[in-house]
Symmetry: C2
Subunit: 251 residues, 2 copies
DNA sequence: CGCAATCTTGAGGAGAGTCAAGATGCGTGG
DNA sequence: CCACGCATCTTGACTCTCCTCAAGATTGCG
């Protein structure tokens, strides 16, 4: 729980970034990679539970999450928290914070994370000189919105079991796309309280819903690991389709 | 209720667009406006209740809403509907639909609307030749996401009264910024069923909540017109801050 | 080994949903 | 100009999902 402070790291050249090798990500030209490299200020490690972008802060940077999990959230004055979405490796952080003067949401590390830090003042250069990459930024923003759209659909119109199914399917799929699934199991670093805050439920009710799913042999979850026992039934429950996975951009 | 079919209109040159004159929008250079004009294919009118982008369709175009109200929504297989956000004049439509191969949401006209249609195949030209406008597209996408974020906060963690207050404040503020508020009153073309689907509530409960607000002299709503009687109390209720309104881009 | 966070279970309650019926308003056509 | 019909709004009664409170079990870590 004790957060070690954020520390700059040497980091690895973008051209050797292991994320970039995954099929989930669109290939960049050598020239694009060199440009991305030139934007990169450093790598930063943050410990689990540490604030990456505190709520209400003006974010100084854009980040790409290189490893670990994080989440975007809002906290109301009386302490109620809503998790807006979870962030996995390859996701771009701080886009809204960069565009609007002040963000109304915060970003917190769920596990120890490593972030690729991009120079704030050079954000504009992407648009100036690299239209393809600028397009990618827009694309990543639109993708994030579609995740939030789905969360809103859940919170507004799905039952507790449906919400949970939709969320677990989404996380499983996203984790899979970045190689975080090994023989069917994902390391899920979420507490039930996190799920509750993401789904708009109480922690107690999330617990009961999970147990019902365990009894129904839909999932096997616990000890920080989740296994999908019956993905098809889960999709039926969530009324979700398995979306086609086209390669997505990576900065 | 009977939808007249979508009809192309002559339209007015972008340089004379009345929207563009509003303080709410960022000024463009003459050159930018000429470029935007060159993207413009036509203007299209759609009747209230007509689908602008049907759910599941691959959208052919990007639109700017010139007049009228619309909304983005998802419908689950069993008919439950979630409204993701409302669209007012100046808003960009179809961005996600353009970026992903297929959209999972639809867009429907709430009133009769007029849309500015941009050539799909020239979307890329914005990024190629007009970095400033490309940046604006990203900005508009991020702004829409922040609206959805707020909706998710509401559906997940606010009570019915708080949700309604937050939504009515947002709509009032947005309508005001495009000149739709006259001596305190906005024309709100929403039924209570629309509000229910946007807030994740039942129509009956929205009704009761509205009536409580009327009795408390917070708002005066009915007959398609809303008046904020006590904006400060509404903001306290919604736990919302009045956000600074910086000029936003318009395509 | 012991504390703290997390998970689990039970009991009772409340916010919001559903169903149903009636009221109101409005556009259309006779 | 009025009557009809439909959509919307309103109200009541009852129900149910999910919440809150509270206590105990489990886990993990220092």
């Amino acid at each position: 729980m004790h957060a070690r402070s954020t520390a700059p790291l040497t980091g690895m050249p973008c051209s050797h970034c292991t994320l970039r090798r995954r099929a989930a990500f669109r290939c960049n030209t050598a020239e694009e990679i060199a440009f991305i490299q030139s934007l990169k200020v450093s790598e930063i490690a943050a410990a689990a539970h540490q604030a990456i972008v505190p709520q209400g802060d003006r974010s100084q940077h854009l980040y790409t999450l290189l490893s670990g999990w994080a989440f975007r959230y809002v906290i109301l004055p009386d302490g109620r928290r809503q998790i807006l979405n979870f962030l996995l490796p390859g996701d771009l952080l701080g886009l809204q914070a960069r565009l609007f003067d002040q963000t109304d949401h915060g970003i917190e590390a769920l596990t120890d994370v490593v972030l690729c830090v991009f120079a704030r003042e050079r954000f504009w250069d992407i648009y100036q000189g690299h239209p393809r990459l600028a397009f990618d930024v827009t694309w990543l923003g639109a993708r994030e919105e579609s995740l939030v759209d789905d969360g809103l659909l859940s919170a507004g119109r799905r039952t507790a079991a449906e919400r949970l199914a939709a969320m677990l399917l989404q996380l499983h799929r996203r984790a899979d796309s970045v190689g975080l699934v090994r023989d069917g199991g994902v390391e899920l670093p979420l507490t039930q309280a996190h799920l509750a805050d993401a789904l708009g439920l109480s922690a107690v009710h999330v617990n009961r819903t999970i147990q019902a799913m365990r009894r129904a042999r839909l999932i096997d979850i616990g000890g920080g690991v989740m296994r999908m026992l019956d993905p098809k039934a889960m999709r039926v429950l969530a009324r979700a389709v398995a979306p086609a996975l086209e390669p997505r951009p990576l900065l």
